[in-house]
C-alpha cells in the first residue's frame, strides 16, 4: 500500500528532515508513526500525499510510483488518501456540511449523492447535529472529527492522521481512537503520527519510531518507547 525506499528529504532551507527511511505498510494495517517533535513524522505524511517531493529514494503509494506522477495526476492520488491534518485545515468560512461536501465536489460526485454521504460520515463522527456550524463555533475535538469525516468521505484506501489526539482531553482522544479503529476495521489502511505514548502503549498496534530523520524501530504490537 505504502512503500518508502531509502527516502531522504532536505528542505530548500537546508533542514534535513529525513535521512534514510525504509517503510513498508500493507493493506488494512494500522500503524503508529511515533517520535518527538521535529523527528520527521509530518514530513513523511507530506511525502505520501506528494505535498513535497523526496530529495532521494522512491515512494510507492497504492502501486503508483510518486516520482512518475505528473502534476495533473496529483489530485487523483490525493483523493485516494484521506488526511486528518495536525491543524485540521478546515475552510473557516464554510459550514461543517460544506467542509465535508467539498471533498466530494472535487471528485464531481453527483449532487444528489453528496448529501446522504456527508450525513453518513457525520453520523460516524457523531456530529450530525452541527452541520450548519462554522469551524470556529466548534470545540477542538469537534473540529478534529470534522477533519476526520472529510478525510474518509471519499472512502479512501489510506487514512493518514497527523497527531489526531494532540491537544485533546483523554476522553475525546479515546473517542477519536475508537473512530479510527472503526474506519480501519472497514478496510482502510490507517497511518497515525503521534507522540501520545499513553494511547500507543494501551492500544497495541505496529509502531514505527522515527528520530532525527531515521527509522529507529519498526515493531509489530510495539510500545511508544523502550522505557514505557
Amino acid at each position: 500500500m505504502i512503500e518508502m525506499k531509502k527516502v531522504g528529504k532536505t528542505y530548500p532551507n537546508g533542514v534535513q528532515a529525513l535521512k534514510d527511511i525504509n517503510i513498508h505498510i500493507d493493506k488494512e494495517e494500522f500503524v503508529y508513526v511515533v517520535g518527538p517533535s521535529g523527528a520527521g513524522k509530518t514530513s513523511i505524511i507530506k511525502l505520501i500525499i506528494r505535498e513535497v517531493v523526496p530529495t532521494e529514494g522512491t515512494i510507492h503509494v497504492n502501486g503508483t510510483n510518486l516520482g512518475d506522477l505528473t502534476k495533473k495526476q496529483i489530485p487523483y492520488l490525493r483523493r485516494k488518501i484521506g488526511v486528518v491534518f495536525q491543524d485540521f485545515k478546515l475552510f473557516p468560512k464554510l459550514s461543517v456540511f460544506e467542509n465535508i461536501a467539498f471533498a466530494l465536489e472535487v471528485t464531481e460526485e453527483p449532487p444528489d449523492r453528496i448529501k446522504p454521504r456527508v450525513m453518513e460520515v457525520l453520523d460516524l463522527v457523531k456530529l450530525k447535529n452541527k452541520t450548519r456550524h462554522k469551524p470556529r463555533e466548534l470545540s477542538g475535538g469537534e473540529q478534529q472529527r470534522v477533519a476526520m469525516a472529510r478525510a474518509v468521505v471519499n472512502r479512501p484506501a489510506i487514512l493518514i492522521a497527523d497527531e489526531p489526539t494532540g491537544n485533546l482531553d483523554p476522553e475525546t482522544a479515546w473517542s477519536i481512537m475508537g473512530t479510527l479503529e472503526d474506519i480501519n476495521h472497514r478496510g482502510t489502511t490507517v497511518v497515525m503520527a503521534t507522540h501520545n505514548s499513553h494511547i500507543v502503549n494501551h492500544l497495541k498496534k505496529r509502531v514505527i519510531a522515527i528520530d532525527d530523520g531515521n527509522v529507529l524501530r519498526d515493531e509489530w504490537r510495539g510500545a511508544y518507547s523502550y522505557e514505557a
Partner: protein
C-alpha cells in the same frame, strides 16, 4: 467539466463575494472609482478633441479673384482647384455676399461699414476648404499661382499656432488616458489580488483535498467577472445619464460649445468600460490564484 460542476462553480463564485464581504467591497469600490475617473477623462478628452477639430475645420482659404476675370475664367479656375487632391470643397463667394459676411462677423460694430456698401472694396472670391487642415498652407501657396487669383487669405500666423496647440492637446489627452487606464488596471488587479492572497490557505486546502487546478480556479474566474460587472454598474450608469443631461443642458445654455452627440457615444463608452472592468477582474483573479496553485 460536468454541468453540475459548472453550476457548482458559478454558485461558489457568487457565494464567495458574500463570504469575503469586506474584501469584495474593497475590490468593487476600486473598480467603481477608477472606471468613473477613466470615464470622465475619456469624455472630457473626446469632447476637447471634437472642439479642436471643429476649430480646425473652420479654417478656410479665401482666394480673391482678379476683378477683370470673366465668368468662364472663374469657372475654369474653380474646377481646376476642385480637382486637386488636397481640396475638400470649393465654393464661389460673390463680392456682395462677402461684404455681408464681413459685416455680420463684426456684430453690432459692423454697422460702421454699412456706408461703404456702395463702393464695396472686395472682389469676388473662391472659398476653399482643405481636405486636412494641415494642407491649408501648401494649398494656399498653390492657389496663389493662378493668374486669375489676386490674393489669398487664410490667417497664416494663427494657423501655425493653432496646429501646434491642438497637436499638443491631442498628445497630452492620449497620454493622460493611457496613463490613467494603466494605473487603474494596476490598482484594480492589485485589490483583487489582495482579496485572493487573504485566501491563500483555503486554496492550499483545496489542493490538498484533491482539487484539480481548474476546480480551484473556476469559482475565482466567476468571482473576478462578477466583481468587474458589479464595479462597472455605478460608473457606467452615472456617466451615461450624466453625459446625456449635460449635453442637453449645454446645447441650450451655451450653444456655441458643440459636444459630441450622446448617442452612440455613451453606449460605446459603456461597453468599453464594462469590457475593461471584466477583463481586469478576471485577469487579476486568475493571475493571483495561479501563484498559490503550486501545492
Amino acid at each position: 467539466m460536468k454541468r453540475n460542476t459548472l453550476a457548482r462553480h458559478v454558485r461558489e463564485g457568487i457565494k464567495n463575494i458574500g463570504r469575503n464581504g469586506w474584501m469584495s467591497f474593497a475590490a468593487i469600490s476600486a473598480v467603481t472609482i477608477m472606471l468613473f475617473v477613466v470615464g470622465v477623462f475619456a469624455l472630457v478628452i473626446l469632447n476637447m478633441n471634437n472642439l479642436v477639430s471643429a476649430v480646425e475645420d473652420d479654417v478656410e482659404i479665401r482666394a480673391f479673384l482678379e476683378s477683370d476675370t470673366d465668368a468662364e475664367e472663374q469657372e475654369e479656375v474653380m474646377q481646376d482647384i476642385a480637382a486637386a487632391n488636397a481640396v475638400e470643397n470649393v465654393s464661389y463667394l460673390d463680392r456682395d455676399e462677402g461684404l455681408d459676411q464681413f459685416i455680420d462677423s463684426l456684430g453690432s460694430e459692423g454697422a460702421v461699414y454699412e456706408s461703404i456698401r456702395d463702393e464695396n472694396p472686395l472682389n469676388d472670391a473662391l472659398v476653399i476648404e482643405a481636405s486636412t487642415p494641415e494642407h491649408t498652407e501648401a494649398l494656399a501657396t498653390a492657389v496663389n499661382d493662378y493668374t486669375a487669383i489676386e490674393t489669398v487669405e487664410y490667417g497664416e500666423s494663427i494657423l501655425t499656432q493653432l496646429f501646434t496647440v491642438t497637436n499638443y492637446l491631442r498628445v497630452i489627452g492620449a497620454a493622460l488616458i493611457i496613463g490613467l487606464l494603466f494605473s487603474s488596471i494596476f490598482l484594480i488587479s492589485n485589490t483583487i489580488k489582495l482579496t485572493i492572497i487573504s485566501r491563500k490557505d483555503e486554496i492550499e486546502i483545496m489542493k490538498l483535498v484533491g482539487a484539480k487546478n481548474s476546480f480551484v480556479r473556476f469559482p475565482f474566474f466567476i468571482e473576478g467577472l462578477l466583481l468587474g460587472v458589479i464595479g462597472a454598474l455605478i460608473p457606467v450608469a452615472s456617466l451615461m445619464i450624466g453625459y446625456f443631461y449635460l449635453y442637453r443642458f449645454l446645447d441650450v445654455q451655451i450653444p456655441f460649445i458643440t459636444m459630441v452627440e450622446p448617442f452612440p457615444l455613451v453606449w460605446q463608452l459603456a461597453l468599453i468600460l464594462l469590457g475593461i472592468s471584466i477583463v481586469v477582474g478576471v485577469w487579476g483573479s486568475q493571475m493571483s490564484v495561479r501563484k498559490f496553485l503550486k501545492v
